[in-house]
């Protein structure tokens, strides 16, 4: 029952977001939301939030979505997404073949240290089978396989147009169903009555707090990846050099507030998905276009011009998510991908032009590296390539180095043909995992494992129940969709009683 600074009784959230979280909509607009008691208030307007709202409105009438961003930034990180990973026994044109529950679960076990809460993870995997049908029923369209290609995406379904189109479809369906979506309306606090029951969501208007009465709350406000102060708690000053790939609004404010009110924590504070992005990308919201996929066809050196990891350890879709962390461990949190003309066409083109030079020394100088050091590293690498290897970008070709430390296990092409290129890499955080502990009904649990009566969570804000240190591409949306649907259903049922 307090709007004060969250003291952080768990000791986890004591590097707070800006507090209270201001709402930029006009006070009159915010007050207009306070006139009725809502059946369900949903915090956030990303995938998890909209799935929850769309589900809730099948049972109850008054559903309010609060989004702190202006309308053009609605949909948080979901705006940047591309596909979703779901299990299926029988394939279709979009995801051909079989991808069984067992296989998806074992894929999940194979990343990082495996699921934090295996029962909940298995539950999510099982539920994932029904997600594509639900999405299509709510306006989402799938991308047809392109002409002349076999569709190779057995595991991940691509929705037409990507995440912004997904959010547009959901938001339109929601508005047609009578759901109210308020933009520039940030949940700042909760008022609790009795035992762990929220009665009001508090917005901080320019004229002071506005209380929104509600019978249930769904928290789907994302992770804390955009909160530099919070990241620094676990990563130190290195976090200053991280780029945030998605929305600047996911500062973890709701997570912090609920932890402060006694919610339990799930997941590792350092758990996150982070990849290599172009060092020239903006601090926030650079999204997919800044991702660099040059690593397996290049060598990667640090600021001192030295290699530090096996660039060809595994196929790139399985390895790309390790590189955010690897770069984070380097001095200055920066690295450089060095390749030549022969390798340039092998990976997705990048949005920023590579530094380009007629010699390794020249391009190293352009990139601000010590030319002699880089020339030596390249020469050393070239000299250790196994001459019997047969390069094949389509598979783990075993074409690697011999007697080099660290080795490059696959795709070791000599760097010899001009022009030479360098792309600068930084750590780009996709999202953080640590969040609110929940049960199978998506209820938020307190530190003793007892559920809050009418508070539910879905999406990034509870992904730490499942993800530990690794990540499976497309599973972020799966978590949000599965738990969003449950949260919406449970919140509505609670209100209806």
């Amino acid at each position: 029952m307090t709007t004060s600074h969250p003291a952080g009784n768990t000791g986890i959230a004591d590097v707070p977001p800006p507090w209270p979280v201001p709402s930029t909509a006009s006070p009159a607009a915010l007050r207009s939301l306070a006139g009725v008691e809502w059946d369900v208030v949903v915090i956030g307007s990303g995938n998890a939030a909209l799935v929850a709202a769309l589900t809730a409105c099948q049972t109850v009438e008054r559903v309010l979505v609060l989004e702190r961003a202006p309308q053009h930034m609605r949909g948080g990180n979901t705006r940047h997404t591309r596909n979703i990973r779901c299990a299926h026994d029988t394939g279709d044109v979009f995801t051909p073949g079989t991808y069984s529950v067992d296989e998806l679960f074992s894929d999940l076990q194979g990343v990082g240290r495996g699921p934090v809460n295996p029962a909940l993870a298995l539950f999510a995997v099982g539920e994932s089978q029904t997600i594509p049908g639900w999405m299509a029923d709510h306006g989402v369209r799938w991308q047809q396989p392109l002409a002349g290609t076999l569709n190779l995406n057995r595991t991940n379904r691509f929705f037409l147009g990507g995440g912004t189109a997904l959010v547009n479809h959901y938001a339109r369906t929601a508005e047609l169903a009578g759901i109210r979506i308020a933009y520039e309306a940030a949940a700042s606090d909760f008022r609790l009555s009795g035992d762990r029951r929220v009665t009001r969501v508090v917005l901080e208007s320019a004229d002071g707090p506005v209380d929104i009465p509600t019978r249930a709350v769904v928290v789907a406000s994302g992770g804390f990846e955009a909160n530099n102060g919070w990241l620094k708690r676990y990563w130190g000053d290195a976090a200053d050099n991280y780029l945030v790939r998605g929305t600047p609004y996911n500062d973890g404010s709701m997570l912090a507030r609920l932890l402060d009110l006694g919610a339990g924590v799930a997941g590792d504070p350092r758990g996150f998905h982070a990849i290599a992005v172009d060092a020239r990308a903006p601090r926030f919201d650079g999204g997919i276009a800044t991702r660099l996929d040059s690593v397996p066809y290049s060598i990667v050196v640090n600021r001192d011009g030295l290699r530090f990891s096996d660039e060809g350890r595994d196929i790139w879709p399985k390895r790309y998510a390790s590189w955010g962390g690897l770069i984070a461990e380097q001095d200055g949190q920066i690295a450089y991908s060095v390749y030549d003309a022969q390798a340039a066409p092998l990976f997705m083109p990048s949005m920023y032009p590579a530094y380009t030079g007629a010699s390794v020394a020249e391009v190293a100088r352009l990139a601000g590296l010590d030319p002699d050091r880089v020339v030596r590293t390249v020469a050393e690498f070239n000299a250790h390539i196994d001459p019997t290897g047969r390069f094949d970008p389509g598979r783990l070709d075993g074409c690697g180095t011999r007697g080099l430390d660290p080795p490059k296990s696959n795709w070791a092409l000599p760097i010899q043909g001009p022009p030479f290129h360098i792309l600068p890499l930084r750590t780009g955080i996709t999202f953080t995992f640590m969040g609110l502990a929940v049960n199978e009904l998506a209820q938020v649990l307190d530190t003793d494992g007892r559920p809050f009566t009418n508070v539910y969570a879905a999406g990034e804000v509870m992904s730490g129940n499942i993800l530990s240190s690794g990540y499976l591409a497309g599973f972020g949306l799966t978590i949000g969709s599965v738990f969003g649907r449950i949260a919406g259903r449970e919140a509505a049922q609670h209100s209806a009683h």
């Binding site: 053009h72 705006r79 940047h80 997404t81 591309r82 596909n83 369209r141 991308q143 047809q144 392109l146 002409a147 002349g148 290609t149 995406n153 991940n156 691509f158 037409l160 147009g161 990507g162 995440g163 912004t164 189109a165 547009n168 339109r172 998905h273 990849i275 903006p282 919201d285 999204g287 997919i288 276009a289 800044t290 991702r291 879709p317 998510a321 066409p345 997705m348 083109p349 990048s350 949005m351 996709t430 990540y471 591409a473 497309g474 972020g476």
Partner: protein, 369 residues
């Protein structure tokens, strides 16, 4: 060297090529994906392949005010608009009729007035405002020879310029002559053309007037397109009747030329009016102002021709026949003259771009996070 506009198109398309989220909407993105670097010809090709459905504008997380400021329909329609003057010929005509609304309007009005004045002078007994009926009534007003030579001359001119422009375009976009004649490609492009496939914006239609997809634009374009073809067929059938069967105009209401003409005319009037309405209510952000001017000009010219054609039919037994004929012929002159330099040529470049696109193989390499 690229112009500032092409630099901007290049900047945006390079980001799209690193992103590729919109590849399911239309042929532009798969065509982009098989190119790593874009030259002028590539961008001209992509611009004319874009059907301006706007799906990729609303789907883009980088649209303004995002600092990447991606607005593909806007930048591609600006490039497309430039191709209309760039490939037009001769250059002085493209300057007169292809650039700037005012100059186009003035030039074509002057031409139309000259024609109308010509008709007034040539009409026997200056019977512009008399009742003219019976066989050959039109030709009592405008001598047959004058009519035929003016319009077939104009027609040949229009055709020649469009063919020359198309060839120039084809060469610039690195099309091969063999491909232009490939039967399979022609069939695929023909189907894409006749169905206006890419105005379906990935399935649900294009995003007019705002971010809710609908088939309105595709339907109305089809009305205009097929209405125009019907009117063309009406003219051909009239020529057949007259030259091969010896039946002289005016034709009865239930004759082939009149029925085709009326149907086509009504379709064009309805279609162009609806397209103007749609344009007025549409989100202006994904459009380029210079193209909008050309759109309105073309829509107005088509509407004028169709309306005055229907008017001519309605008034053909009245004393206003002469005036109506003069206005109709004048508006036809405007349409013909602006055809090779204004929006009308879009069909030629678009068709060629679709041929090129069906020749190119498509593939993709992408996954999400």
């Amino acid at each position: 060297m690229l112009t500032e506009l092409l630099e901007e198109a290049n900047r945006q398309l390079t980001i799209c090529n690193a992103c590729r989220y919109c590849e399911g909407y239309c042929a532009v993105f798969p065509a982009l994906e098989i190119r790593r670097e874009l030259g002028r010809g590539d961008m001209v090709y992509l611009a004319n392949l874009c059907h301006d459905c706007r799906a990729c504008y609303y789907a883009c997380m980088y649209k303004p005010p995002h600092e990447f400021a991606i607005n593909i329909p806007e930048v591609l329609s600006a490039v497309r608009e430039q191709t209309y003057s760039r490939y037009g010929w001769p250059q002085f005509m493209t300057r007169l009729l292809g650039s700037g609304a005012l100059r186009t309007v003035v030039t074509s009005l002057v031409a139309a007035l000259l024609i109308a004045a010509g008709i007034a002078l040539f009409a026997p007994n200056h019977r512009i405002f008399g009742v003219v009926t019976g066989p050959e009534s039109f030709y009592q007003l405008v001598p047959f020879l004058v009519l035929v030579s003016v319009f077939s001359g104009l027609g040949v001119y229009v055709l020649a310029v469009i063919v020359a422009s198309g060839l120039k375009f084809w060469r610039d976009t690195q099309g091969r002559l063999r491909d232009m004649l490939s039967l399979r490609a022609l069939r695929a492009a023909g189907a894409d053309t006749l169905q206006l496939r890419y105005l379906r914006g990935g399935g649900e239609g294009c995003y007019y007037p705002e971010d809710v997809p609908s088939m309105a634009r595709r339907t109305m374009h089809s009305l205009v397109f097929y209405g125009f073809l019907l009117d063309f067929a009406a003219t051909v059938s009239a020529a057949v009747l007259q030259d091969f069967l010896g039946v002289l105009p005016p034709y009865p209401l239930l004759s082939v030329p009149v029925m085709l003409g009326v149907t086509g005319g009504v379709m064009m009037v309805v279609g162009t009016t609806a397209l103007v309405r749609l344009k007025q209510t549409s989100d202006a952000r994904p459009s380029s102002p210079s193209m909008v001017v050309k759109d309105y000009g073309f829509l107005a010219a088509l509407n004028l021709v169709a309306t005055t054609g229907l008017l001519l039919l309605a008034l053909r037994d009245s004393p206003l026949l002469g005036a109506a004929l003069a206005v109709h012929l004048g508006s036809l002159v405007i349409l013909f003259l602006t055809m090779p330099y204004g929006k009308f040529v879009h069909f030629a470049y678009r068709y060629l771009a679709l041929v090129q696109s069906s020749v190119e193989s498509r593939r993709t390499e992408q996954w999400g996070d």
